[in-house]
Symmetry: C2
Subunit: 160 residues, 2 copies
Amino acid sequence: MTSDLFVKMSLSAWKTQNTRLDELLAKLSDEQLMQPTAPGRNTGTYLLGHLTAVNDSLFKFLGFGEMMHPELEDVFLRSPDGSGKTMPTVKQLRDYWSEVNTALYIKMDAMTAADWFAKHSAVSEEDFIKDPHRNKLNIILNRTTHQGYHLGQIAYLVKK
Amino acid sequence: MTSDLFVKMSLSAWKTQNTRLDELLAKLSDEQLMQPTAPGRNTGTYLLGHLTAVNDSLFKFLGFGEMMHPELEDVFLRSPDGSGKTMPTVKQLRDYWSEVNTALYIKMDAMTAADWFAKHSAVSEEDFIKDPHRNKLNIILNRTTHQGYHLGQIAYLVKK
């Protein structure tokens, strides 16, 4: 019962951040998204790709399977903006963002509280016994803050 | 047991954000903090005051008592940057930030899991029965993301 409540609180906080990005994307044109969020800083396009790749990588961490778009990993998780690596178009990135989240929500909504408190895929059984907070739900807590961090930057593309 | 774990996970995520601001503050001079985080956007000073006021207001929401610096509320929670209202100096704000957090940690560390799952001060008994996720810990989850949001902006003051 209490576990169900934590899961609800955590997932709701994470989904709220996804919705906030949806709202920002609805406000920003492709041209605006292609601009740096501040002089010399990441573009909106790069941050959209980055946040999509981070959500997409949840399929692995939560044990659902592989990324839907593994090609995003190299460009948006391992390389900085302006690396010269081939990027999808802004239009494609907008589609991937929605597609990844829709698929993730279906998988997540089918999980029980016990599933969420199980270890995530990047921690060993041995370490998990020592640190039981390294569970799947903790990944969601961390990803929520990470989304907030970049949403604060993408928000700078919205004209005042 | 699971409740204790969830409290630990949530508080640890929130404290991590406080520590990240400590690290940014150690890197940034007062002059750097006084700059806008991007052209036409909030200054680092305003955001430091804002985050301090938000943490300070936790004394009320968590039922510990009044804000340590109630004068911050009008300038940093109810008014935008550049309102012309009297601001503390950057030096004072740095001190308040540490002081508020030190006092908060002492109060928080003395709370039990049951305390955290009780309703926060801004929700009625009646609404709490309908929405038990509106508990004290949920405030911490929300504040953590809020901190992340502004940390992403303050980080733009650090020279690349």
